[in-house]
Symmetry: C2
Subunit: 154 residues, 2 copies
DNA sequence: TATTGTTATACTCTATAACTATA
DNA sequence: TATAGTTATAGAGTATAACAATA
């Protein structure tokens, strides 16, 4: 009567894309923190630094929508990164409501340092997948998110 | 100088499995809530009801590990589901520390009702993927999570 | 009127540790 | 001594709405 560990019946959850994505994301974040051991910034901050590096002058609201962070929350994160001296915002002349974000030299150095620490972990295939499967998984996720065009490919 | 919306350079984030999973999960949950409009319970509660339905007598701690919910949090969720009359716990004779979970008749009815509401949404492929790609994405996620064996397959 | 960013509030989820009762 | 579950507390992330400045 009692379900044994390791041989669970996942039922319809095993076919639910949302559920699988939820578990996979938790797994990936656990692996990230285990591999980094404090050597890297929080995933959210790192993603902002990398996005501003790749898109200098990006507006706060555009960045918030891209990373699916609420504007109110983005304000706090940006402020903390500004206080840390990694980011600076400037008000464009053509729309004085907006804020355009740039990395400071320190922010650029931190983005490079953090990414080089994370790079090996992020590009190695997880233990449960072959390199080919991992590449295909990333490809399908980009298709799902309509992010086909990305950084370093022709 | 300013990055335009819609044509962002995702840089290394576009190759980061963890980042892609994070965005994909947010996308999937948004789609879930948009499709359900309050007609379904929260994803966390629904996953617990479905897991107890498929694995009657599963212990709380086993369920917590499977769903990657901390034991302390699982206690609260189970208590709320018990107060709602959907779940009951029993103490097995062979280990009086443990709690085995079962659905009440009301809980079974709620699991059936909620799943039938969610089913169409969860099994239809998302707009950005073909049915084949969606199936392959689910397959790769199960492989990534080592959940190959699941509910309704030989 | 609508939009950008800010502030304030509350709520959920999470993380941690101390506690009990059993094993 | 280790484990299952509980309690308490604090923190991070998130959601919401009201607000000021600008368009």
């Amino acid at each position: 009567m009692t379900a044994p560990e390791g041989r669970l019946d996942w039922g319809p959850l095993g076919d639910s894309l949302g559920f699988l994505l939820r578990l996979a994301q938790l797994e990936a974040f656990e692996a990230y923190f285990a591999a980094m051991e404090g050597a890297a910034p929080l995933p959210g901050s790192l993603s902002i630094l990398l996005m501003v590096r790749g898109n200098p002058g990006i507006r706060q609201g555009v960045l918030a929508r891209a990373l699916r962070i609420k504007r109110a929350h983005m304000t706090k994160i940006v402020q903390s990164l500004e206080q840390a001296g990694l980011l600076r915002g400037s008000v464009p002349a053509d729309d004085r409501r907006a804020i355009e974000l740039h990395l400071t030299p320190a922010g650029l150095a931190e983005a490079e340092r953090a990414w080089s620490a994370v790079h090996a972990h992020e590009t190695a295939p997880p233990a449960t997948l072959t390199a080919e499967e991992a590449a295909q998984l990333r490809h399908l996720l980009r298709r799902y998110l309509s992010l086909q065009e990305h950084g370093h490919e022709p």
